[in-house]
Each structure stands twice: as C-alpha cells, then as structure tokens.
C-alpha cells in the first residue's frame, strides 16, 4: 500500500528517458573488491567516541553527564535549532568523558566528543514502535525522524527532517533517491539495496507521503545489476520508477543526478527544492523506515572497508563512534611493511574522500567508506608540470567550468577573476585533476582560492563598517570645529565694532543701565523684553555703557570658551564630568548671549537715537523701530540659545548609546532646521522692519507684522523648549510606551490641524477687512490661534521624538511622520509670513500690548 499521489497512467510507462550531463570521467571502478560478500556486523569497540557534530548545521547540545549510565538508543544530545540533529547512544554503557578529540574532517581538527564505554549488555532503551505507520500524519513522521537524529547518509549529513518539510513556494515535482554510488571502491549502497531493498522502498514511501511528489524516481548506475533487480522487485507494485543511468563519475552528484533524470539544472546558488526536486540517499531511507516503524534512532550505518591494505574487505554495519584504526584492524588491516612508507587512510572514495590525520578518528553518520590503499592501486601523484592549456579539464568538468582559467587565476591570486569565472560553482569532484596530463592538483588550488575569497570578503565587510563609523565621527568633529570658528569670527567682528563705538563715546550711562537691568531680568522671555521697549526711548550717550557691556560680553565669552575646551577634554579623558560640564557650558552660553543682547540693544538704541535726531520722524515709527530693534536682538538671543541647546544636544550624541545615535542625530538635524527657520524668520523680520523705516509717513500698520514677530518669537521659544524636552524624552522613553505615544501623537496631530485651520480662517478674514475697525479682534484672535498652533506643534514634535527613542524598529515610520509634521509646521509658519507680507508693514497703536 503506498500513500503516493501519482497519476496512474505513469504506471504503464516503465522506462523513463535518461538524459546526460557535460563531462565526467571513467575511473577504474574497483567495486568487486568489496561487493562480493554480504553485510557483516562489526564487533563492539572498547570505546566509542561520538562527536557532537556529525551533520550540517549547529552542533547538538549534550544532555547527559560524565559518569552517567546510558542505554542503547538513549538520547545523548538534543538538536540545537532547526538545522541540527540529535545524537543517541549506539550501545549501553557509561559516559566516560566529554572532551575534544580528532573528528572526521579534512582539517584533522578536534571537536567536542562524548566518550562512551560500552558495558557489552547492548540493553535497549524503550522504543516506540508503530505498526500502522502508514496512517501517521506528516508532523508525526517529522517528529519521529527528528527524534531519531537522522542526517543525510550519502556523505553531506544534512539533517533529514529539514528535507521532510515540503517547500512552501514550490510544489515537489520529483522525489529522487540517489542510488548512483558513482565513486570507485564504495559499495555500501549496492549491498544495502541487494539485501534490504524493501526497507529502502518503505522509507521512500513514508517520505513520499509527506512530500506528495508528482514523480518518485530512483537513480542507479548500470554497474549494479543485482541491486537494480532487487529494486525492481521491491518497487513492483508501487509508482516508484527505477531509472538506470550509464556509469560515469560523478553521476551521483546531486545536481548531476537531477540533470540526468529530469534534464533540469539547479540554478547556481539555489537548492534543488527551488526547482521542486528533493534528493536523498538510500541509506537515509532505511534509517527513516527503522525510525518510524520501530522507533529506532540512528546509531549505526553501513560502511565499506576496502583497499588492498585491508585483508577482509567488505561492507560492515558499524556503530557510530567506532575508532577507525580499531575497526580496520578487526578486518585484517596491515600497515605497509616497506620502510619509510607512510600510510594513507581515506574516509570516503578516492575522488572526494579526505585523508585522516589521526588513525583513531571515529566513524560518524556520514562515513560511507574507509579506504586503505597501497602504493600500486593509488600511487602518490607525480610532481606537477606546467599547464599546457590542453583543455582536457574543461572537457571533463561536470559543472561546465573552465578549470584551466580558474587554475591560472588561483596561481596569480586574481581572486575577483576567479569568482567571476564561477569558482564557487565547482563541486570539487576531482574530475579535472584526474584527467590533467600535467598532474596538477587543480582541486587543491580551487579549495585554497575559495578560502581566500571568503576571507577577503569578510575583511572587506569589516573595513567598510569601520570606514563608515570613522567618516561619521569625522563629520561630527568637523561640524563642531566649524561652529566654534564661526562663533569666534562673530565675536571678533563685534569686538571690532565695539572698538569703533568706544571712540565715539558720550555721557549718561545711567539710564542705559536701568534699561539694561530690566532687560537683563527678562532675557529668558522675549515677550517681556518687548514690554520694556517703550521705556527705552531716551538714548543719551551709550558709548561708555557700550564699552562696559562689551567687556562683560567678552569676559563671558572667554569663560564660555574655557568651558567648551574643558568639555572637549572631558569627552576624551573624563566621561563622568561631561553632563556637569555641558550644563555649565549652557549657563555660560546664556550669560554670553545676555551680554551680547544688552550690548547690541544699547548699540542699536544709540544709532536709533542718532537717526531719530537726524530725521525727526513721528513717534510711532520711532517706537516701532526701537521696539523692532529691541525685538531683533531678543530674537538673536533666542537664536543663540537655540544654537547652544543644539550644540548641547550634539554633545549628548557623543555620550549616547550607539543605538540612540541615529535618533539623536535626527533630532539634532530637526533642531538645526528649527534654528535655521528661526534665523530666516529673524532676517525676514529685519527686512520687514527696514521697509517700515523707509516708509516714514505711513500711519497705520496691520497687526500682522507685530503679531508675526511675536509669533516668530513664540515659535523660537517653543523650538528651544522642545529641544530640552527632546533630550529628556530621549533619556527616559521606554519601549513599552510606544502605543501610548502613538495615540498621543495622533491626538495632537488632530489638534494641530484644527488650530491651523482656525488660524488660516482668522488670517484670511483679517486681510479683507479694514484695519481700523477690526484691529482689536484679529489681534486677539490671531495671537491666540498662533499660540495654540505652536503649542500643538511643539507637543506633537515632542511626542514624536519620544516615539523615535522608544522603538528602534519603528524609527523609519516615525521619521516619516516627523518629517511630514515638520513640513506642516514650516508651511504654517510660511503662511504666517506670507499673510504679513501681503499687508502694508506699518505700526499700530497697539504695539505695546501683547
């Protein structure tokens, strides 16, 4: 009874067309040495050495302890992850040790192994047999196979349970059983098929019930007539087709066999499952059957012992962990008697097998053959001659490569060219080396070059990352340096002006002092500065006062510079002081800005007084001027503060965790934009004021310019406050708050929208109405609206920043949202400016209120 769903019409077609692959060689088969006798059971070794990694993927995890008594078939190590396999005790006994030992690998390196001392009792642990295995579900079968620790026994050792999960994308078109056994000397699959074909077919049917393929094929070479007969008998009443392929090495290679049976090529870099083909070994099938039917884990395999040095060659069923030197001695291995002759022990066949460095290497799940040749049957290779470019290698290559070119590139270490010539498609079958007339060890060159290329790629990746980090750091340092230079330049210019002013110094510094004191108290709030402005009409002789202020300013600046230097030093040598110093820097920056503000105010007043003396304009324009001039320094102060906060934030970037750097950089950039926006607005305000001065006889001014200014100041204020909140948000935000913050952000967005809409309406209303009649109303409305708008915007931004810092994965989304909002904010502000510009820029009586 078979559980395969195949079109019944295929039952009629018994012979299926067999295709061909390029190249291939015909070495001497040497199979008769070991396939004449049936499989024998190897004796029990005195010590079993079980490596934890006998498969592709992660090594298994040990679950037993030293000194523990274990039963035959008891699990010793669990699979670690999906691509891994379990390990079981091949016999009952005691765990002697778990330590490093030489493993079956070409490198001869050591790896962790479990040392098991058999007690000779061969006591099985409890097994879960299943007579009715055909009724099992796919997941049950997968579980049994996984629990049995079955890996591909053809030589690769890929965990079988992975192949038993049908690929999601492609349907399994063809399920192929690899019975080709193309390598010379190896006959384990041959004997297994001759003696236990029914187990193999049963296993195949179990797998087919999971994969549900369209076709089930067995690929076998024509040098195994008895095995073919046994297979045909076993598949008599099934839909499995036995396809006989001509004997050619390497027709047992997975890709080559697929090409032979289906004429499809597995694309480079992909696996057969990508084209709907699954390929497995016959030994694996027998193991699957035993696991599902009898619950037996994988604890032994059939290995060919062959070569002229082994007197009783043949196939043995041997437990894993059996040391190879002990095993071959049981079968009559005799080291060569020739003096100075070094022996070769090959695990695998003569074409792809590797020599063992340590004779006590254990048998593992992938050991299909142990070959002990003498000098005559496998002589040592002659010394290599120069390549004569005959092209016999390209004729033999089953992967249709140009081995000759690959050889030249490997010699010249032209790694890029080698990779371009598809070096990584080489399956290392050895056909090219076999045919080379100059006896060049081609495969060895390719292995070496593959390793070199992999190493080079890893190094490139590392250096790319290092370079990116370095460049980011350089940019930051340059930026800091540029800012410092700009500041110093500005200071130098102001100092020069102060010098000039000092020359034209006059009396009455008192009044200036009062005014500056008042201004001093309220520098933190730009609004309050403005209320002071009307009182500062009289400007008598500010020159001396100017000089004093300049001095104060210079001193403050010098102190600030010292603080900055200390901060820089701390960054490198004393990280613990950075926060303290940053705060100190901030405070000093404030002081500097205040001093600057005072000085500029005084300076402007002086020039205004001069101007007013000269021009004799009406009071209003004058007040407007002064007030505007007062406003502008205030704006500048605010700007400076914003800039200082920005630099503080940038310093915080240096200290921040690497994960936060991204967020903070973005925040910094945002703030820079804000600062720039504030700057531009300031310039615009200045320009607006200039035009105000020029039109000397204008009587009324709309509320908008003043209101504009106040709005701008508000905006700047908000930007500044937001910066500090940003800092806090970054420090404190927790990932779990994302949900809350998202909702809050959305709410605020709505509020912002509403506030904006209101504002727009108010503005448009105002434009169409006469200023005299509706001054008060708009005045009340617009500032309030704008206040609301700005508040909403700032809150929104704050939340967004919090969001940024909360979840690294959501950063992308939030960045986009933040950008959008940024644009909106800027658009709102531009709209404001436009509204103001569309009106005449003249003062009103209401200049004092706000």
């Amino acid at each position: 009874m078979s559980a395969i769903s195949i079109d019944k019409s295929k039952l009629i077609a018994s012979t299926r067309e067999v295709f061909d692959f390029h190249g291939g060689i015909h070495p001497d088969e040497m199979k008769s040495l070991s396939n004449q006798t049936p499989i024998t059971t190897a004796p029990l070794a005195p010590q079993l050495i079980l490596p934890l990694q006998q498969h592709i993927g992660k090594a298994s995890k040990v679950i037993v302890e030293v000194g523990q008594q274990v039963l035959k078939g008891q699990k010793l190590a669990n699979a670690d992850g999906f691509i891994s396999a379990a390990l079981h005790a091949p016999t009952s006994g005691t765990i002697e040790d778990i330590r490093e030992h030489a493993i079956a690998h070409p490198s001869g390196e050591s790896d962790l192994c479990i040392f098991l001392i058999p007690d000779g009792k061969e006591q099985w642990c409890s097994l879960q047999a299943c007579e009715d295995y055909q009724q099992l579900s796919a997941s049950e079968i997968q579980h049994k196979v996984s629990e049995a620790g079955i890996a591909g026994m053809g030589g690769a050792g890929f965990p079988t349970v992975v192949k038993l999960h049908p690929p999601k994308q492609a349907k399994v078109d063809t399920y192929i059983l690899n019975a080709a056994e193309c390598e010379p000397y190896i006959t384990s699959d041959d004997r297994l098929l001759r003696e236990r074909a029914d187990q193999v077919i049963a296993g195949m049917q179990i797998v087919a019930s999971i994969l549900k393929p369209e076709n089930c094929l067995i690929g076998i070479e024509d040098n195994k007539p008895e095995a073919i007969a046994a297979l045909r008998l076993a598949t008599k009443d099934t839909l499995i087709q036995v396809c006989v392929v001509p004997t050619k090495y390497p027709s047992g290679g997975e890709k080559q066999l697929i090409k032979l049976l289906t004429n499809k090529e597995v694309p480079s870099g992909k696996i057969p499952a990508d084209i709907g083909v699954v390929c497995q070994n016959v030994g694996t099938m027998a193991a699957i059957f035993k696991a599902v039917r009898f619950g037996e884990p994988l604890i032994s395999r059939i290995t060919t012992l062959t070569g002229q040095q082994i007197k009783q060659p043949g196939n043995v069923e041997v437990l894993f962990g059996t040391p190879i030197n002990w095993l071959i001695e049981q079968y009559g291995y005799q080291a060569s008697s020739k003096r100075g002759q070094k022996e070769r022990l090959i695990m695998g066949g003569p074409m792809m097998g590797f020599t063992l460095e340590h004779p006590d290497t254990p048998i593992v799940k992938t050991t299909n053959c142990i070959l002990a040749p003498n000098e005559t049957e496998l002589p040592l290779p002659p010394p290599a001659q120069a390549c004569i470019r005959c092209g016999l290698c390209a004729d033999a290559c089953p992967a249709e490569l140009l081995p000759q070119q690959l050889y030249w590139f490997s010699r010249a270490q032209e790694l890029e060219k080698a990779e371009h010539h598809n070096l990584f498609d080489c399956i290392e079958c050895g056909a090219c080396s076999f045919v080379c007339p100059s006896a060049i060890p081609l495969v060895q060159y390719y292995r070496h070059t593959k390793g070199e290329i992999k190493k080079l790629n890893a190094e490139h990746q590392k250096s790319d990352q290092a370079r990116e980090r370095f460049e980011a750091r350089q940019t930051r340092l340059d930026r800091d340096q540029a800012e410092k230079d700009a500041k110093r330049k500005a200071r130098a210019e102001v100092a020069a002006k102060a010098q000039a002013a000092k020359k034209a110094a006059t009396s009455a510094p008192r009044q200036e002092k009062v005014n500056t004191d008042l201004a001093d108290k309220k520098t933190a709030n730009i609004k309050e500065t403005k209320t002071d402005a009307p009182q500062t009409i009289k400007a008598e002789d500010p020159t001396l006062e100017l000089a004093d202020l300049k001095e104060t300013w210079d001193k403050a600046q010098a102190k600030l510079d010292k603080m900055y230097d200390a901060l820089d030093d701390a960054k490198i040598n004393h990280p613990e002081n950075i926060s303290k110093l940053t705060r100190a820097v901030e405070k000093n920056q404030m002081r500097v800005n205040q001093a600057k503000l005072l000085w500029t105010k005084t300076n402007n007043q002086k020039s205004t007084v001069d101007d007013s003396k000269a021009e004799r304009v009406t009071l209003e324009p004058a007040t407007t001027e002064i007030e505007s001039k007062v406003d502008i320094p205030a704006l500048e102060l605010a700007l400076d503060k914003a800039t200082s906060k920005l630099s503080k934030l940038q310093n915080a970037l240096d200290n921040a965790q690497p994960e936060q750097v991204e967020k903070l950089t973005r925040a910094v950039d945002k703030n820079k934009l804000r600062v720039n926006a504030a700057d531009t607005e300031l310039q615009q305000a200045l320009a607006a004021q200039k035009s105000t001065n020029e039109s000397a006889l204008v009587d009324t001014v709309e509320a908008e310019p003043k209101v504009d200014i106040s709005a701008l100041e508000l905006a700047i204020d908000k930007a500044v406050s937001k910066l500090s909140k940003l800092q806090n948000a970054l420090d404190n935000a927790q990932p779990e708050q994302v949900e809350k913050l998202t909702r809050a952000v959305d709410k605020n967005k709505l509020r912002v929208e509403a506030a904006k809409a209101e504002l727009q309406q108010a503005l448009s209303k105002q434009v169409t109405v006469e200023p005299e009649t509706t001054e008060t109303e708009p005045e009340v409305d617009i500032p309030a609206l704008e206040l609301a708008l700005d508040k909403a915007i700032s809150k929104l931004s704050k939340l967004q920043n919090a969001l940024d810092s909360a979840q690294p994965e959501q950063v992308e989304k939030l960045t986009r949202a933040v950008d959008k909002n940024k644009l909106r904010v800027e658009a709102a502000e531009t709209a404001l400016n436009q509204a103001s510009a569309s009106n005449n820029a003249t003062t009103t009586k209401h200049n004092g209120e706000l």
């Binding site: 060689i25 010379p184 070094k342 074409m351 792809m352 020599t355 040749p373 249709e400 076999f434 495969v443």
Partner: protein, 349 residues
C-alpha cells in the same frame, strides 16, 4: 602509524604531457616518410639536427635557470618544436639557418617566457618567421625539386655537403614550390598554361600532395586519440578553403582550392602547428575562431602578400589574439542561463 595527508582526488588518470607530445611527434612520421620519398634526405637530417640543437639549448637554459634538466627535457616539448621546424624548413637550408631558428625558438620564444606552458607564441613559428625574414634568400632558394622530376636524385652526401659545406647544388635539385610557381605565373598566363608546369604533376602538386595527405592521416589519428581538439584543424581548413572557394574560384586569377589545400604546409599547420595547445585558445568556440583566423590570414597573405606560404605569420598573429578570443567565448556554466562573456559582464544566474 604515521599517516600521510593529501588533498583529494587520490586517483589519477593515465594521460601525461610527455605521452601527448610523443604522440604528436609520432604522428608526423607518415608525413616525414612522404617528404623523404619526394624531397630527399634534407628534412630527416634537419629534424635530427634541430632536435640536437633544441635539447642542447634547453639544457643550457635550464642550467642557467637552476632547474632539474631531466624533469624538463622529459616532457618532450623541445623535441616537438624541433620536429616541427625540421619539417617546415626547406630541405636544403644551411645548417646555420636551422640552428638559428631552433635556438631562437627554444631560448627566446619558450624559456624566456617561463618555459613550457608559459609562452604566448608558438616557438617553432617564431623561429621560422625569424629566419624567413632574416635570411630570405636561404629560405626561398633551398626548396627541393620533387624527385620524380629529377634524373639523378641528390645523395645523402650531396645533401649533407650542401647543408654543412654550403656547396651549391646543381640547379635542377632546388626549385620553387608549387604555390610560388602558380602565384608568379598566373599573373601573366592562363591556368592551363601554368598547370602544364611539371611541378604540379598530374593532379595538384607533385610530391607536396602526398606529403599533405600523409600529414592529414597523422592528424586524423591524433584527433581520434583525442590528443588534439577537432575545432582547430577544422577551423584552419575551413578558413583557408572558404575564401579560396568564394574569392579564388577563378583559376585564371588565383591559385585554385586544391592547390591551396594540398600544397605547402597546409595540413602540417592545420594538425600539428596551429593545434599547439599552449598558444591556442582554450574554449571550444575560441578554438574554432582561432583556426578560422589562421586559415583566413594564410589565404590573405598567400594571395595578397609577398610570401608564397604564410602559415608562420598567420599562426603568430592569431597567437596574439588568442587570450582576447578566450575572454569573449566563455561557455555557459551549469546552473546559469547565459554565459558570462567579456571581461566584466555580471550575468545573474
């Protein structure tokens, strides 16, 4: 037990470079026999003399390079060069002509590039071209008249004294080659008149046709043994035949096809010279293009150039082009949709 660690594969095929070289030398024997029968002892002597010179020069260079002499001389590559030169040079060429040709070929065209496998140009052809250009008189006046046309054939002693002693031969012994004759005569005669010249024999070229047929036989045997690929000789012959048929169909204007194919060094070049694996292309398609190029260039130089036989130059010119042809004729690798042709093309599989 002490275990030897070696890299796989551990099995080795039976083909060896020295075996291939010996087959190449061996397969020239039919041609050599034909040459001796028709043109006397000259070629045989030249082969022996060039062989001696080649081995001596190689040994000398290897001593200077501090390499094991036996290992390198045993690959028979120097002997192949010597044999090809011995077959290609005129039978009565003075000893110093063949000496210069061989010594230059071995020392300059082979070992100065790194020895066997590293030379970009065919050493025998380099030597031949050198003496052809440097000693034009010696290379054009020392061709032998086919023996059936002579009343008295030159004896071995006479041949040796000519080659070594420089004694001038009786006029009858040396003569122009059929290609030379036809090319010069057809300029002012009709084909029937030209073909009346006894040098053309009854069919195409007296003596030369048998030599070429013998070399063809040897070459086909090499093909059967898979020592040489079929693309190169087929390419050469097609490359020569096609223009001869398309452009030289009029026997009254230019040399007819069969004289091209069976006279001169056509078959020798197609099967033994152009197929030198070291200097030829490595890809199958590339070899075809290489062969076609050699044939075409030979035709052009023969008809429009001033040399009656032009294989040396044609082969050398195609040796220049071989690496580039290789780059552009890469085959498709298993598992890819298209071949990656050209130096930097990156085809996705």
């Amino acid at each position: 037990m002490a275990l030897l660690t070696l890299s796989s594969p551990h099995s080795k095929g039976t083909q060896r470079t020295s075996i291939m070289m010996r087959w190449v030398i061996g397969m020239t024997i039919p041609g050599l026999i034909a040459q001796t029968l028709f043109f006397g002892w000259g070629n045989l002597h030249n082969i022996l003399w060039c062989g001696l010179v080649a081995l001596a020069c190689e040994a000398l260079v290897l001593i200077v390079r501090k390499r094991p002499i036996g290992f390198y001389l045993n690959d028979y590559s120097a002997l192949v060069t010597a044999v090809l030169l011995g077959l290609a040079l005129p039978p009565f060429a003075p000893w110093w002509v063949s000496f210069v040709a061989t010594a230059f070929a071995i020392i300059f065209a082979k070992h100065l590039y790194g020895g066997m496998g590293y030379n970009p140009f065919n050493p025998a052809m380099v030597g031949y071209a050198l003496v052809l250009v440097s000693f034009p008189v010696a290379m054009t006046t020392n061709w032998a008249t086919p023996m059936p046309l002579l009343d008295a054939v030159p004896s071995l002693m006479q041949t040796l004294s000519k080659i070594w002693g420089g004694t001038s031969l009786p006029d009858a012994f040396s003569g122009a080659t059929p290609l030379d004759v036809y090319k010069n005569e057809i300029a002012h005669s009709l084909s029937e008149t030209v073909l009346e010249n006894p040098i053309f024999g009854e069919r195409y070229s007296l003596g030369w046709e048998w030599v070429n047929i013998a070399f063809l036989a040897g070459g086909l045997l090499l093909l059967a043994l898979k020592i040489i690929p079929w693309q190169t000789p087929v390419g050469v012959l097609v490359g020569l035949a096609l223009p001869a048929v398309l452009l030289g169909y009029d026997a009254d204007q230019s040399t007819p096809l069969m004289i091209h194919m069976l006279s001169g060094a056509t078959m020798l070049a197609a099967f033994f010279i152009a197929t030198d694996p070291v200097t030829s292309c490595t890809t199958k398609r590339g070899r075809l293009i290489f062969g076609l190029g050699v044939g075409l260039l030979t035709y052009i130089i023969r008809v429009y150039g001033s040399y009656p036989d032009a294989f040396a130059f044609a082969v050398l010119l195609m040796n220049f082009a071989a690496p580039l042809i290789d780059v552009y004729t890469q085959p498709r690798t298993f598992g890819y949709d298209k071949a990656k042709r050209g130096p930097k093309s990156k085809e996705a599989p």
